[in-house]
Amino acid sequence: MRSTRTIDISTGLFVLLGFAAILFMVTQITNSGYSMKSDSYRLKASFENIGGLKSGAPVSLAGVTIGRVEDIQYDMGLYKAIVTMRINDKYRAIPNDSDASIYTAGLLGGQYIGLTPGSSDVPYKDGEQVIMANDAIVLEHLISKYLFNSAATPPGESTPAPAPAAQE
């Protein structure tokens, strides 16, 4: 039988190691690591189609994640999806004519909201609505648009190049 002290020390080490592992999991491998609750403000945007956007998706400005999608609701009056975003307080001074678009990260990646700064001097206030919101690009819509366009033009004529997805 080992001495009680050795047992206590090893147990303490084991328990500490266990909690360190839990802490590592909670802070290092999840996106909820940094709290958006206290020091953040809300922005709203309404979209005709949000594609596969989910709550928790990043909100980015020039590729830098500045917040997350907090909530997605459907407005029965407007027939639009209302997306509420939480933006970190560090990025207070976003011009209030900036627009929001839904993009896809990579070919198969998740969707996120990209903000493009406008030129106004007045920043967005807490809870304000983003006026210009561009919908998610749905691949099926693009394909059908492309197909119908090429079917509509008679053969022989040079078809105006259909807007490729890469431009968005």
Partner: protein, 256 residues
């Protein structure tokens, strides 16, 4: 034919009886739980026995499970040209499934058998009977601390297992195959939700309760012979493994 049928009915009845006894055993443990918590010293000793002593095997197996995941995941994901999702794939599969399940199986093999053999030997050498004669409740004195030690140790072992495995997968994916370290961790971070971690820890806790309960039950109720102790040890591993996998399905269905 009738003999076979009668045997079947008999063994089914025995099975039902065992389940009933196990439930009664669990209820007795639950009843004395508050008083057992007032004496932390033996519990700490058992956390040492079941947890700290299992640490080496848990970490070794975690490392290799992680390395295998890195290898298999890399091979599979390169077919789709999306190696950067290696972190996501390993983290989610470890947190939700492999971490808790493999840890529970190892726990049953390492700590469960030790508990069952120890209690079985106490039974076989009449130590438990001696305690009863001295008006010391062996459930309170011997069984409860061992059970609680296992319950406390399991979620901690699960977390250690998962973290070690994540680094194992990183070792293979990033160091050997050259997946970008930044995308390994950032893709993981963007995909893993707190609910995934919760699922892993809840599973760990439930498996800990189940495996510890089975181990102490089998040991405590072992036949007081050398053969009986051996049988109790074997049954601990077999029943723990089966119960773990069945519970895993139920818990996954509940939390998906």
């Amino acid at each position: 034919m009738t003999i076979v049928l009668r045997e079947l009915v008999q063994s089914f009845l025995t099975f039902l009886e065992r389940v009933g006894l196990l439930v009664r055993f669990a209820l007795r443990l639950a009843a004395i739980l508050p008083s057992g918590l007032l004496r932390p010293k033996p519990i700490i000793e058992q956390v040492y026995n079941t947890g700290a002593m299992s640490l080496v095997i848990i970490m070794t197996c975690g490392l290799f499970i992680g390395m295998v995941l890195g290898l298999q995941g890399y091979d599979l994901l390169t077919r789709f040209g999306s190696e950067e999702y290696l972190g996501t794939a390993t983290a989610i599969s470890l947190l939700r499934e492999l971490g808790p399940v493999v840890t529970a199986l190892l726990f049953a093999g390492r700590a469960g058998t030790a508990l069952a053999a120890e209690l079985g030997l106490m039974r076989a050498t009449d130590q438990i009977a001696a305690m009863e004669i001295m008006a010391v409740d062996p459930m309170r004195r011997v069984v409860l601390p061992r059970f609680l030690g296992g319950v406390i140790a399991m979620p901690l072992l699960v977390s250690i297992f998962i973290v070690v495995a994540l680094f194992g997968a990183q070792l293979v994916g990033v160091e050997f195959f050259g997946v970008d370290a930044g995308s390994y961790w950032s893709q993981m971070r963007s995909a893993v939700e707190l609910s995934d971690i919760r699922e892993g820890l809840v599973k760990g806790l439930v498996f800990g309760v189940a495996c510890s309960l089975i181990a102490v039950y089998e040991g405590y109720n072992a036949q007081p012979t050398a053969e009986g102790v051996g049988r109790a040890t074997t049954r601990t591993v077999v029943i723990s493994a089966v119960v773990t996998l069945i519970l895993d399905y139920i818990l996954t269905a509940l939390m998906l």
